[in-house]
Symmetry: C2
């Protein structure tokens, strides 16, 4: 038996506060199919799992992923447990494509960061000369 550990849940307001976004954002993500919180009557109830998905999504957003891309990735996380060979194969192909894309972006980011640090170093040298 999986122990019925009373896992924590959140209301929209609580979770928005926790994640540092507005309730509007959470409702928007739901409308776009990125999360599907349960309902307690009329009200949304976010579980630990919902929160985890949202954190992944918000992390993706920070380095330029669109909501559509975020949704695809979190959905792939779920599909990885499949038992159908056909499913797993196409999923794997897509995962590799996504990984390659992310690596390109990481490279772009790394180069930009490197240049920014170079410019900063140059500033420091000039300041030392003037000091």
């Amino acid at each position: 038996m999986t122990a019925a550990a009373k896992e924590r849940v959140w209301t929209v307001g609580e979770l928005a506060e926790d994640l540092g976004v507005t309730t509007r954002t959470l409702r928007h993500y739901e409308a776009e199919g990125l999360v599907t919180p349960r309902r307690s009557g009329h009200n949304r109830v976010y579980t630990v799992r919902d929160r985890a998905r949202l954190r992944l999504i918000l992390r993706g957003r920070r380095f330029g992923m669109s909501l559509a891309e975020c949704r695809e990735i979190v959905d792939m996380y779920d599909g990885a447990g499949s038992s159908e060979q056909r499913q797993l194969t196409t999923l794997l192909g897509r995962l590799d494509e996504v990984a390659a894309d992310l690596e390109r972006r990481a490279d772009d980011l790394r180069r930009t960061l490197s240049e920014v640090n170079d410019v900063a170093a140059q500033c420091r040298r000039r300041l030392a000369e003037l000091g």
Copy 2:
């Protein structure tokens, strides 16, 4: 004397083709103050330097930087040659902030990439079992 090496120049169409964007994008970037190509009469003339700036900008766009952020960074690259201590100090402060921000984004990207690779590995294991 700096030799008057006839450096290559581009028209909008040529440069757009070269950079893989539309001419509309280049004109938009100009309207937003990210580049300021010279004019040959009525027509835009992009220099090697303009092209370099644009490549930096497009690279930034790929990992989620806004046009405003891109503009600030390329502008900072220019300001680094200043001789005014006051200027250099504030510039340096900003550069360090930007670098810190980029490092956070890089970290987010790295974690996401790592997870995607984990899921892919999981797929491969399951496929091996089913094989």
